[in-house]
């Protein structure tokens, strides 16, 4: 796609990608900005090869995810790359994150306890602000199924928070 259309693409996806990165770097603003910049620089470089028939959300999401994985692998060279690929959420010690309040730390730890797909869905929908249709394109599922799963996930989250 022509790079002249990149501005509109950037405006559409910037916030979601920033938030995606933010919650994967332990709510560290500086690191989130650095990595978000990296992601969009890569996307810009590859934009001419981007086929508009592919979902833009899925495309930029994959770039961001791969970049996070590569950064994690650099920081932990002894770990097998496949192990990192399966760990979508770079689990943080939220207790140590001073920018977050106590209740926010509780909420993030509770989300960590949800099963893989449900945790991912809650993060993408409610923390990162993706629409169901965009999530469906990224995860190759139906938006209807995701809505049902989101409702179930929130109920589980409520139960986890009640226990604590």
């Amino acid at each position: 796609m022509d790079k002249r259309f990149f501005a509109a693409f950037y405006d559409k996806h910037f916030k979601a990608i920033y938030k995606f990165v933010y919650f994967r770097v332990g709510a560290n603003k500086e690191q989130a900005e650095d990595l978000t910049q990296d992601v969009f620089v890569k996307a810009f470089g590859a934009f001419e090869r981007y086929d508009p028939k592919i979902s833009g959300s899925a495309w930029i999401y994959t770039i961001a995810r791969n970049h996070i994985i590569n950064q994690a692998a650099k920081n932990r060279p002894q770990v097998d790359l496949e192990e990192i690929e399966d760990t979508d959420w770079d689990r943080q010690d939220w207790d140590g994150v001073m920018e977050l309040r106590h209740d926010e730390q509780r909420l993030l730890k509770a989300i960590d306890q949800l099963p893989g797909d449900e945790g991912k869905l809650v993060r993408m929908k409610y923390l990162e602000g993706w629409r169901y249709e965009e999530i469906a394109e990224c995860l190759n599922r139906s938006s209807g199924g995701l809505r049902v799963q989101a409702c179930r996930a929130l109920k589980k989250l409520k139960a986890i928070l009640k226990q604590k």
Partner: protein, 348 residues
């Protein structure tokens, strides 16, 4: 009480809002790298075209030349008709609009030939070449449409081509002298051959495109890693870390230096041209995926004479999985241990 959970989540999400300064600064930085066209040309070109089109059509003569079926290739206003048609092509911007315009012009050429034949006027070689050219342009324009629209478009284009052949056959039958008849017969055969060649080329290209889509979809369903390499979908690639991102944003592929790129192999050559990759400590996820694939695809595990392992399709193997086999077998040649120790029944 789910509303309260959603409220807390959204409140937390607001903590992650990026600063507007950072957003604006990054945008400015990236857009400064966009190659600029003279802004005047960008804005003015379509405006100029539409304006001149409107002026010409408004003038009456051009409108008549463009719209009237009486303006045939031997009419003095025919060159004006051709100019207006060029402008109409320029204004069609989207693939759908371009395809529609090209199809309309192909039908026009057929109507012109029908009208010339009906008035007993001789058909010139130039007209036939023009039809063939516009037919080729229409096929190319149709190639950019989505699958469903493309199928309908192709049907309409075929109908136009058939109509043109019937016109030529009608002309041939009306001819009195044998030499003239033979000449038209030769023209029909020549036209048919050229158009068939174009269709075959396009069919092959579309088939390749469709196969790539199917391969990628199957890889996603089977949860196998994949990437785009040399315009093909490669399954189970050996990735390079931090290489620039490919068009689909999956495993990095482009930007690998030439001396790092794997050599292109002849399809018939089964000898590995690369040294086996030393296996990392944990290949269990890929092994598990391969076992599932073998089960789902009804694949046979064959033991080659050199001791290597290869997967083969059976009659029950779905076509999507068949498309993945070549790449998987290439990977198994380099890393036979992916299936080596598995207790799978093998056939020699």
């Amino acid at each position: 009480m789910l509303w309260f959970i959603k409220f807390k989540l959204r409140k937390l999400s607001k903590r992650a809002e990026p600063s507007s300064e950072f957003q604006a600064a990054l945008r400015k930085e990236l857009l400064s790298r966009v190659p600029q066209r003279p802004w005047l040309a960008v804005i003015m070109r379509p405006v100029a075209v539409t304006a001149s089109l409107a002026a010409m059509l408004g003038a009456g003569t051009a409108s008549y030349a463009y719209a009237s079926d009486d303006v045939l290739p031997d009419h003095p206003l025919y060159p004006m008709r051709e100019q207006v048609e060029q402008l109409v092509k320029t204004v069609a911007v989207t693939p759908k609009a371009q395809a529609a315009v090209q199809l309309a012009f192909v039908k026009r050429r057929v109507r012109e030939m029908e009208a010339m034949a009906a008035r007993q006027r001789p058909l010139e070689r130039r007209q036939l070449e023009k039809f063939e050219r516009e037919f080729g342009q229409a096929m190319t324009a149709g190639g950019k449409l989505d699958n469903g629209e493309r199928a309908k478009f192709d049907d309409k284009l075929s109908a136009a081509e058939l109509a043109q052949v019937k016109v030529l056959q009608g002309v041939r039958e009306r001819m009195r002298d044998e030499q003239g008849k033979q000449e038209v017969e030769n023209i029909i055969k020549d036209e048919t051959r050229k158009i068939t060649e174009k269709i075959d080329q396009l069919r092959e290209k579309r088939q390749d495109q469709f196969e790539r889509q199917l391969k990628r979809r199957e890889a996603i369903q089977q949860q196998l890693p994949w990437k785009i390499e040399n315009d093909d979908v490669r399954i189970l690639p050996v990735e390079a870390e931090d290489a620039p991102i490919d068009a689909t944003g999956t495993v990095p592929t482009l930007g690998i230096r030439k001396d790092e790129r794997p050599a292109l192999r002849d399809q018939a050559d089964s000898r590995p041209t690369q040294k086996p990759v030393p296996p990392p400590s944990n290949r269990e996820p890929i092994r598990a995926k391969l076992r599932t694939l073998i089960e789902r695809g009804g694949l046979r595990v064959l033991r080659r004479r050199d001791g290597g392992i290869q997967l083969a399709a059976t009659t029950s193997t779905p076509s999507g999985i068949r498309l993945l086999l070549k790449d998987i077998n290439q990977r198994l040649m380099r890393e036979p241990e992916l299936l080596e120790n598995d207790k799978l029944p093998t056939t020699n």
